[in-house]
């Protein structure tokens, strides 16, 4: 078991009324799974993904990640945990504009305080694998959307995470680029990386091994 959510509630108070973002979510993810989260806008997909990714907190419930009780951890430990085991891929790529392709991929390693020689080797491998060696000195704005997302994935993978969280990774791409990215995810999953993706598209969801549907913060089967 990679992670487990038990009775997770998350809410915001607005105007004296409590609005639930997540309502009694129970989720167990085994290593090697490829899960798709689906649901209409505002159903809490991204919120759930952020909770899993430890970027966002929750109000009630328990969250265990690799035998650690996330809900009891301090901010710093939590950060160390996700830094170590989780990679993020975003719909809007979220590359750092001021950094080149190479540097963008390298950044997570910097924050892990890895030695320069090791970093070089790892980044070179990654560039190789994704066939973007020739673009390593370009800045994000010089790349197409698909290429940017490729860099985004490469960056997410560089620290060898156990889990990849992807928030509509193909949302900003045309269908051909989208297909390539999904194929890549499939391949990664086959190599043993656990993947949770948020998606609107049935077709993309089909790449996964399991689908979770949300409506108004609640899981519907």
């Amino acid at each position: 078991m990679l992670l487990q959510l038990n009775n997770i509630f998350k809410w915001v108070n607005s105007g004296g009324r409590r609005t639930f973002l997540l309502k009694d979510i129970n989720l167990t993810v085994e290593e090697g799974e490829f899960i798709s989260i689906m649901g209409p806008s505002g159903s809490g997909k991204t919120t759930l993904l952020n909770v899993v990714g430890m970027l966002d907190g929750f109000n009630e419930g328990e969250y265990n990640f690799m035998d650690e009780s996330v809900h009891q951890l301090k901010e710093k430990h939590r950060a160390n945990l996700y830094k170590e085991y989780i990679g993020f891929v975003f719909q809007a790529y979220h590359l750092i504009d001021e950094l080149t392709v190479y540097e963008n991929i390298e950044t997570p390693l910097l924050y892990k305080k890895m030695k320069s020689s090791e970093r070089k080797a790892l980044v070179a491998d990654m560039l190789d694998r994704f066939n973007i060696v020739g673009k390593k000195d370009l800045f994000p704005e010089q790349l197409s959307g698909g290429q940017q997302q490729l860099v985004g994935i490469a960056r997410a993978l560089i620290s060898k995470p156990k889990l990849i969280l992807a928030d509509e990774p193909t949302g900003n791409l045309n269908s051909k680029q989208g297909e390539e990215i999904m194929d890549l995810f499939k391949q990664l999953n086959e190599e043993g990386v656990t993947i949770i993706q948020v998606t609107h598209s049935e077709k993309n969801a089909a790449y996964g091994s399991r689908i979770i549907e949300l409506l108004d913060g609640r899981e519907i089967k």
């Binding site: 970027l55 966002d56 950060a79 001021e98 997570p108 910097l110």
Partner: protein, 803 residues
């Protein structure tokens, strides 16, 4: 990691060139001003510290209050030095300076009259650190008739030949001095600059025992660890025991009787306080000192300049923070810790500071000659390379990068990653309040300085235009004309033939610039009143100087008729209680022969014979003309006249150099310190508001960018260009108006105190505030309009399309 910080910082800088240049421009100006001020202040504070024993040297000074008259003198009586050394165990040694005002000095056939000359006790060079570079190292002034020259002075008289053993001759009495040593030139930061030091041995005055005549600058070397203030307490009994008996002889009062209503005593002044913390009249000091007040003022301005520049940096960084939120979010998601982000942002401000410092450094080197000219200093750019300056620079750099970059760093790094990625979190509301506060702070300082500049300017023009009781235009002073001796009359008669000369008077007394000073005690009957100033003049003096006789008559040429008659000024009339009819009243002037009775024949309207800092004091004019010549001319440009007079002077072939002074220039010279201060203040005020406006410009750029869409919509809805400009300027104007509310009361408080230093001064009228406000608002509006007008004129379709 550091490399990455620097790399990203540099790329960010390149990306935001506009904002960055504004920051750098402001910072480098701020740094340059601050450095200049640091140089200036350190120099002022360094006075006399080069003497190795500086911390243990004090000067003995004299202070008294006699019948309401405050007497402050930096000189004391001849026997003080020896007496204190003998009677106080804390005093290790004592030495004296007796200044002789530029005597005629001759070596073989060359004569100069510009050597600053002093008799000093033989132990002078043991107490003061003035290294001998040639000649007798040990005790050059032991023998009577020996003299020590500074390096430049030795070269002046002897060129490249060896000065040791050469003979100098002083004055008409042909006193002989043998050069025994040459010392290094006296550093600029010394409170005295003599060119020659003659041995006090054999100088007859040095031995006199009068406790009633002050002529000697006296310095004590105290035992290590002695507190001068405690030692001061031991002085009164010593003064009483020595001065008492002599006082009884002189004014017929015992010391106890005299001090019942009057105060009098010797005090100790640390050597290092002399330059900045002295309140002695310039005439009494060795040299015009600085003023600790100006050190505080300039220190504050330097700090303010730096703060304003730092504030620009802070403001622009937080204002543009919106652009950085995404980056912060990503970095956090990728595993960055907060402190790493803080380091990254601080690196950016450090790089900016470094660049600004290098530019500021060059600005200082460029501005230094100009600043020296302005401040009357000889600051050297080499000073910047000294180790201590390096330390100051490092501290300054740390200070600037932390102040300027600290807030943005902590602020930006505090974003929560999810919120930052959504970019919804950042509306800038929280920082807007702070930014407004900082803008207000900047304009408080700018408006305050503009106000101060206006007040100083007004006081200076008041001084220029003040009716000082005499007409100082077109007057030429030839103070050295008496050097012609018996030829003076012939010289005067020749001058009178020149049609450009209206009138000539003979007197050594001039109301501005170098002048003789005479004071002596005045009695009414046998009641001692106070000391009063004397002017010795002839019958032409009043008319040449344009002074007005308000009662009685002028002196008359008839020989001997007026030798015991005097004209007094209005203040003297009042002080002496001659209100109802002063003419014919008598007073007694104390002199060596027991006093002479003088009769008042006229009253002259009060004129300022001291600077406007001091109230007009009682003055007695006597008919006793000697000294140089004072000419009333009919030409505004006196250069031609001066040339002809010089030719005339040379015809008499006296061997004396020709000198002259234009009275109006001397008058202005009196207020040079204030003039200097005013000039410096004006420049710094301008720079301050310039830097503040750089920041304002940046902020306006930012807000107009943010509101581009709003502007577009408003224009589509029919808003005029003027309405949009108003919309954009309104918020800033409010802040600036608010800053006036704070700036003016503070400014008024300080400027009022500054004005109080002048006995005669302008008042601060309401319109000075209005003018200061208008100037500030005008400058700010011009700055704002650069951007706001452009934004308002933009085609709305363009801004709406991009959304």
């Amino acid at each position: 990691m550091i490399r990455t910080y620097i790399k990203t910082a540099w790329r960010n800088i390149l990306k935001n060139k506009g904002v960055f240049s504004l920051n750098i421009a402001g910072l480098s100006i701020g740094i340059a001003c601050c450095l200049l001020i640091v140089l200036f202040v350190t120099d002022e504070l360094s006075y006399d510290k080069f003497h190795e024993k500086a911390d243990n040297i004090v000067r003995v000074v004299f202070r008294a209050k006699v019948n309401g008259e405050v007497i402050k003198e930096a000189v004391v009586m001849a026997p003080v030095a020896q007496t204190l050394k003998e009677e106080l165990p804390e005093v290790l040694d004592a030495t004296r300076i007796r200044r002789i005002w530029m005597p005629k000095m001759r070596y073989e056939n060359t004569t100069y009259r510009d050597s600053r000359f002093a008799y000093v006790d033989p132990n002078f060079f043991d107490i003061f650190t003035l290294p001998v570079i040639k000649g007798n190292q040990e005790n050059p002034l032991k023998e009577p008739g020996t003299i020590v020259l500074t390096r430049d002075e030795a070269r002046k008289y002897f060129g490249n030949s060896n000065p040791i053993g050469k003979m100098l001759v002083m004055g008409d009495a042909e006193e002989q001095f043998r050069v025994t040593a040459v010392i290094e030139n006296i550093p600029e930061n010394s409170h005295f600059h003599f060119d020659m030091f003659a041995s006090m041995e054999g100088y007859p005055y040095a031995k006199n025992t009068f406790w009633t005549k002050s002529d000697f600058f006296t310095y004590l070397l105290l035992r290590e660890g002695t507190d001068p203030e405690l030692l001061e307490d031991k002085l009164p009994p010593i003064v009483e025991s020595h001065m008492g008996p002599q006082m009884k002889d002189e004014i017929g009062m015992s010391f106890a009787e005299f001090t019942k209503d009057n105060q009098l005593g010797l005090f100790l002044q640390p050597l290092t306080d002399i330059h900045l913390n002295s309140d002695f009249a310039n005439a009494s000091e060795l040299e015009q000192g600085g003023n600790i007040k100006y050190i505080y003022i300039f220190g504050a301005i330097g700090l303010f300049m730096l703060l304003i520049a730092c504030i620009n940096f802070m403001n622009l960084s937080t204002a543009t923070a919106a652009k950085r939120t995404k980056e912060v979010g990503i970095r956090k998601v990728l595993g960055s810790e907060r402190k790493q982000l803080i380091s990254q942002f601080l690196t950016e401000s450090l790089i900016a500071t470094l660049i600004a410092m290098v530019i500021g450094f060059f600005l200082v080197i460029l501005a230094l000659p100009f600043f020296n000219n302005l401040s009357g200093k000889a600051l050297n750019p080499a000073f910047l390379l000294k180790f201590r300056t390096g330390a100051v620079l490092l501290v300054m750099m740390a200070f600037i990068s932390l102040t300027a970059g600290g807030y943005p760093a902590f602020f930006l790094s505090s974003f929560k990653p999810v919120a930052a990625l959504k970019s919804k979190f950042f509306t800038g509301k929280g920082t807007k309040g702070l930014r407004s506060g900082l803008v207000v702070f900047q304009f408080v300082i700018s408006a305050g300085l503009i106000f101060a500049t206006l007040v100083v300017g007004r006081q200076m023009s008041y001084i220029q235009n003040k009716n000082v009781g005499y007409d100082r235009d077109q007057i030429l002073v030839l103070r050295d004309a008496h050097l012609l001796g018996h030829n003076k009359t012939a010289f005067k008669n020749e001058i009178l033939k020149d049609p450009r000369v209206k009138n000539v008077t003979t007197s050594a007394y001039v109301p501005a610039g170098p002048t003789n000073n005479s004071m002596s005690g005045v009695f009414l009957g046998d009641r001692y009143q106070r000391r009063m100033h004397y002017y010795n003049i002839d019958e032409e003096y009043l008319s040449v100087m344009g002074m007005e006789l308000v009662a009685g008559r002028n002196f008359s040429k008839v020989f001997g008729a007026d030798s015991l008659n005097v004209i007094i000024n209005e203040t003297a009339v009042e002080t002496l209680g001659f209100k109802d009819n002063p003419i014919g009243k008598t007073l007694t002037r104390a002199n060596d022969k027991g006093g002479e009775e003088l009769t008042v024949i006229g009253v002259v309207r009060d004129f300022h014979f001291k600077s406007l800092h001091q109230p007009i004091e009682p003055l007695i004019l006597r008919y006793n003309s000697y000294g140089g010549l004072i000419l009333r001319t009919t030409v505004a440009d006196m250069s031609g006249l001066i040339e002809s007079i010089q030719k005339l002077w040379n015809r008499f072939d006296s061997g004396e150099p020709f000198t002259y002074a234009i009275l109006d220039d001397s008058y202005k010279e009196t207020y040079r310190a204030e003039q200097k201060m005013g000039d410096i203040l004006r420049i710094f005020a301008l720079l301050t508001i310039f830097v503040a406006c750089l920041g304002l410009f940046g902020l306006v750029t930012f807000t107009t960018e943010q509101r581009l869409k709003e502007i577009g919509i408003r224009k589509v809805l029919g808003s005029s260009v003027a309405q949009i400009v108003t919309l954009l300027s309104k918020d800033f104007l409010k802040l600036i108006l608010l800053s006036f509310v704070i700036a003016f009361p503070i400014g008024y408080y300080f400027m009022d105190r500054w004005l109080r230093d002048f006995s005669y001064r302008t008042d601060i009228r309401w319109w000075v505030f209005v003018l200061a406000a208008l100037i500030t608002v005008f400058i700010a509006l011009v700055t704002i309009s650069f951007k706001s007008v452009k934004a308002a004129l933009e085609n709305p379709v363009k801004s709406l399309k991009t959304e």
